[in-house]
């Protein structure tokens, strides 16, 4: 089995190293990831500047390829230019931090998996919640591998993707797996206004007190309850319900 592995935390991130370590049991892993952290880049792609591919070594050992672009760029380049065989599955992660609710929209980790699905591959985005109380990403990567193995055994169809999130608790305390939907409510965000030494204002994006928001069946509530959440995502963004409504509106041109 040929596996393409990418992420948005960058080629040197511990999450991708741990995940690579474990999923090598499942197949041949080609690692292609951004040179530097790309969190929150969403589904950005690079066409206004050229991309570079470089071989990355750690402790004198070749570990994979670094790209000066986004996670979606990595998937495009890996499949078109780097890999000799087409991957059987594309895996993105293990991300440091959950990608649930509307954070799915901003996530480079998820975007890489979306890109792979658009290109006709089956793909899996995997993220690890992480809290101040628990952040053992190596243990989480082992859990991720167990989930990935099950997905591969079930033969996820080509062009489809699953978004997997692992709760920030020890593997023994995880209660099970829940098949979920995306929590769609807005997280309450705000800007913190500060003033620099020259007297000019600048703004930091802050917020998301998720504890107040719970809705049964969602990725967010599954994670809060100590379950691994798996949400299937689609890249057809059409709102078919609203489409029916506005098709009845009186349009004139």
């Amino acid at each position: 089995m040929q596996i393409l592995l990418t992420n948005d935390d960058g080629v040197y991130a511990p999450g991708i190293a741990s995940l690579k370590h474990f999923i090598q049991e499942l197949g041949t892993v080609t690692l292609v990831a951004p040179d530097i952290e790309q969190s929150g880049v969403g589904h950005s792609i690079t066409f206004n500047q050229p991309l570079r591919i470089r071989e990355v070594h750690m402790n004198n050992e070749f570990i994979g390829y670094g790209v000066n672009g986004s996670p979606a760029d990595c998937v495009k380049l890996a499949i078109n230019e780097i890999m000799r065989e087409r991957p059987d599955v594309v895996i993105s992660g293990l991300n440091m931090g959950a990608n649930v609710g509307i954070h799915i929209l901003y996530s480079g980790t998820v975007a890489a998996a979306v890109e792979a699905a658009v290109m006709g591959f089956s793909s899996i985005a995997v993220s690890f919640e992480i809290t101040e109380h628990y952040d053992d990403i190596h243990n989480a990567a082992k859990v991720a591998k167990d989930v990935i193995r099950q997905i591969l055994n079930h033969k996820l169809p080509k062009g489809y993707l699953l978004n997997v999130n692992i709760p920030a608790i020890t593997p023994e305390r995880i209660k099970g797996i829940k098949i979920t939907r995306q929590f769609t409510q807005d997280f309450k965000e705000a800007f913190q206004k500060r003033v620099d030494p020259s007297g000019r204002a600048y703004y930091w994006l802050t917020g998301t007190d998720k504890s107040k928001y719970q809705e049964e069946g969602t990725d967010l509530s599954a994670l809060s309850d100590g379950y691994i959440s798996i949400t299937p995502l689609r890249y057809d963004r059409t709102d078919y319900q609203l489409q029916k409504t506005i098709a009845e509106w009186d349009w004139k041109y």
Copy 2:
């Protein structure tokens, strides 16, 4: 009526200037846009560095605010920090280039409208196809205003967004308006490999020969046939069909 206007081509782009010119007939326009072009940034947001807001003047006249971030950042900042009243509608555009098919995923123009919808506002993304034969963005902005006026008259509900695309033909030749769905097939992309003066390889993303792909009812085919396309988009990315399928898989943890 309070209108927030943004884009991804940047605060100085002709498309946003023309659109502002025309939609001032519809209400009070606050323009908040990226300092520099942000095409292809998708739904990226900025939380690893602070954001700045600056007042932008053209010909000694105040035109709006520039932000050193993405289109989605502009929407967040405009609503939380810049506008005194909450907008009745958020408009993103007029983009130079169509945002149809899977390009919707990469589009900063569309992401700004998605961000507004997530925050609970009704929003409209408007793009203009542009070809080598026709690129009169001022005329296209007038067409855009006509479409926007109709959407506002119909009272698009809060939290919903429409993606409008205007074909690259003169207003008289436009055949009408079609309510469409997103074309979901992959555009055929490739990388062009070049070698720099130091002998190192670099790659340009190229491609998308759209002429081969046509599918009745989609945004892409409406545009090719000379219609304005309007596709309602949703930000719940859950694939509910696949969810039913995988809920029946045998999961173990």
